[in-house]
Symmetry: C2
Subunit: 373 residues, 2 copies
Amino acid sequence: MDALLIIAASESDANLYYASGFLAPDPFVFLQVGGKRLLLMSDLEIDRARAQARADEVTSYTIYEGKARQRWSQPRLADVVAVWLEDVGVNAVSAPSNFPLEHADRLRERGIRVAARPDPLFPERLIKSEAEIAAIAETQRHTEAALAAALDVLRDAEIHGEDVSWQGRPLTSEDLKRVVNVSLMENGCVAEHTIIAGGVDGVDPHNQGSGPIKANQSIIFDIFPRSSRTRYFADMTRTVVKGRASDQLKRMYDAVLAGQRRGIDLARDGASGAAVHAEVIRTMDRRGFETAVVNGRNEGFFHGTGHGVGLDIHEPPRISKVDHILRAGQVVTVEPGLYYPRWGAVRIEDMVVVEAGGCRNLTRFPKDELLEL
Amino acid sequence: MDALLIIAASESDANLYYASGFLAPDPFVFLQVGGKRLLLMSDLEIDRARAQARADEVTSYTIYEGKARQRWSQPRLADVVAVWLEDVGVNAVSAPSNFPLEHADRLRERGIRVAARPDPLFPERLIKSEAEIAAIAETQRHTEAALAAALDVLRDAEIHGEDVSWQGRPLTSEDLKRVVNVSLMENGCVAEHTIIAGGVDGVDPHNQGSGPIKANQSIIFDIFPRSSRTRYFADMTRTVVKGRASDQLKRMYDAVLAGQRRGIDLARDGASGAAVHAEVIRTMDRRGFETAVVNGRNEGFFHGTGHGVGLDIHEPPRISKVDHILRAGQVVTVEPGLYYPRWGAVRIEDMVVVEAGGCRNLTRFPKDELLEL
C-alpha cells in the first residue's frame, strides 16, 4: 500500500497545506493511503480541522496518545503515530524530503519502514489552475501598488548634494520599506524581507538594504509578498535612481532589460530552463557585461534567472544552470541582474505564466527605461 | 569528535539563525566542530555570510559541488556535504530533530553516521539575556500599540441592534486586523496570523475570525508579531465586548482572570509547568467552569496555559500537562481561556520573564475587568 505520511505545521509547509487545505501553526499528522486523506489532530485543532480540512477522516491525537501510553511510559509523537499507523494497517510509508529525522528514526525503531520521496512531492502543485494564477496575479497587483507608493515618496523627496531628505529628515531604506509594507498590509498581504537596497547594498543580491538613500545611485526594489487570504505569493523587482544615473549604469540597465526580454521570449512549454538561462547570460555578455570573481568577490550575473512562485516564494522549476523543463501552467520569475561594486546594481523581475507557445506576463509595472526620479 | 550539522533556511529555522547569526531565505550548511563554526555557502550568499555570519570559516559550496561532480555525475546537496565533511575530517554528526530525512539518508549512504539530537537543540536558547528580554519587551510594546489602535476603532464604531458599523459600513474582523497589522508594520513588526474572533469564531481557539463584528458578544484579540529587526516575537491576548456583556460572560472573564493571576503568581524558577497548569485549571473549575466534551466538541479550557516565546513564537518550556520545569530567564506566556458555544470565549494572555522568586510581567495592557466598549 503506497502511503504518504507528513508531519509538519502547514503554516510553514506548503505541501501539507496543499494536501490538507488546512492551515495550522503547530505540527499535525497527515496520511494519504488508499485514495483517502486521514488526519491525526490535537484537541486544540480537531474541531476546526473537521470543519475546514480536505480530509476523509479526522482522528483524535489524544486518544492515540492514550493507547501509546499503555505500551510506553513517555510516548513521543512518532510513537503515537506508530500506534495509529498500526490501527490503520500501514507498516511502510513514504515521506517528504524534509520529513523530520527524529520522527523517521523513531518510526523505524517501531518497525515502520520510512523512505523519503524526491522533490517535488506533489508535481501537480507546480502546474497552476486558472484560480491559482488569478490569486498570484492579484498578489502581484498589490505588489505593484506598494512599489508605486514607495516611488511616490522617492519622487517627493529632495536632493541635497548626495543626500536625499523627506519630511525634513534623511530618507532611509527603512522609511521606504515601511511605505511598501503598510501598502501591502492594507491589501491583506505580508512581505517579510522586502529588499530596498541602494548603492553598494544592492550589489549584494540578498542584502535587504538599510540606512540613508543616496542620490544618483541605483536602488533595487525587490518585493515578494504573500496574500494572507489566498496564501499565494507574487514577486517583482525594479531598479530606479533618485537623481541622475551614470552612462554606465544606463548601459547596465539596457543590458539587463535586453536579457530579461530575451528570457521572457524564450520561456514556453517544453523550453529548457538551463538553455533560457544561458541565453540570458549571453545577451548581457554580448553587451560587454561579464561575470567573474574579482578580488575574491562575484561580479556580473551570478544568480539564477528565475524560479517558480506559488504557495512557496521559491519553488520549482528553476531557470538556472540546473536543467528543469518548463511546462504550461507554471508561474515563474524572469529576473536577471548585474552587480558591480564600482557602478551599482540592476535587477528587473517580472512574473510570467508559461503557456504552449510562449508566456503571459502577470506583471504590469513599467520597466522600459531606467527610471530617474 | 562531536560535530553538529544543520542544513536549513535560517529565516524559517530559529536554531540555525541562533547558531550562525545569519539570516537567509534558502537552505545553507552549518557545521559546529571542535569549537569552530563552519559554513558552506552558495555564491549568492557567500560574500554576505563572510561579512555578517558568526562563523570561523565560510567555504564555497560551488567548489565542493565541483569536487562532488568528479565522483558522481549528478551530486545532490548531501553528496556535496559528504565530500566537505570528509575534507574537514568528520565522519559522524548529530543533527537537529527536524533535520531533513532525505539528506540524512543520503549522508548515511555516503558513510557518514547521522543521529538526531533531542529538542531543545540549544538549551541555552531558552534562557534569555537582558538584551533578548529587552527585544521581546519592545515587541510587546508594539503589540499593545496595535491593540490600542484596534480598540479605538471599536470604540468609534456604532451599534445598531446586533450590528456594528464603522465609517458607514459593517465593521469586520478583517477591518480590525488591518488596523492592527498596519500599526505593527509602522513599528517594524510583522504579524502573520492575528486572531480577532468574535462570538462563535472565538470559541475555537485557533479560528482567526472573519466577517462582521457583532454587538454584545465576546471578541478575542490575540496578537503575536515578530520584530523584523530583532527577530524576537511577543504575544498578548485580550477579550472585549462591543456593547453589553451577559452576566455569564462576565463570570467567565472573572474566572479566567483569576486563573491567569494564579498562574502568574506560581511561575518562578524551579516551578513545574504541569503543576502551574493544574492549578490554573483548578482555579477556574472552582468557579464552576469545567472542561468536557459536549456533543463531540471540547468545552471549557482545553489548551495549555502557556509556552516559551523568543526567536520562535512557540518554544519550550510549555506550561501544560507535559511537565517542564520553569527556569529563571525564560520568557513564557500565561494564557488560560474558557470556551463555551452558548456563552462565548474569554482568553487573557500576558508574557512574563521567570525569575528566582516569581516572575516579571512584560505586559502593561490593562486587563482588570472585561472591557465593554
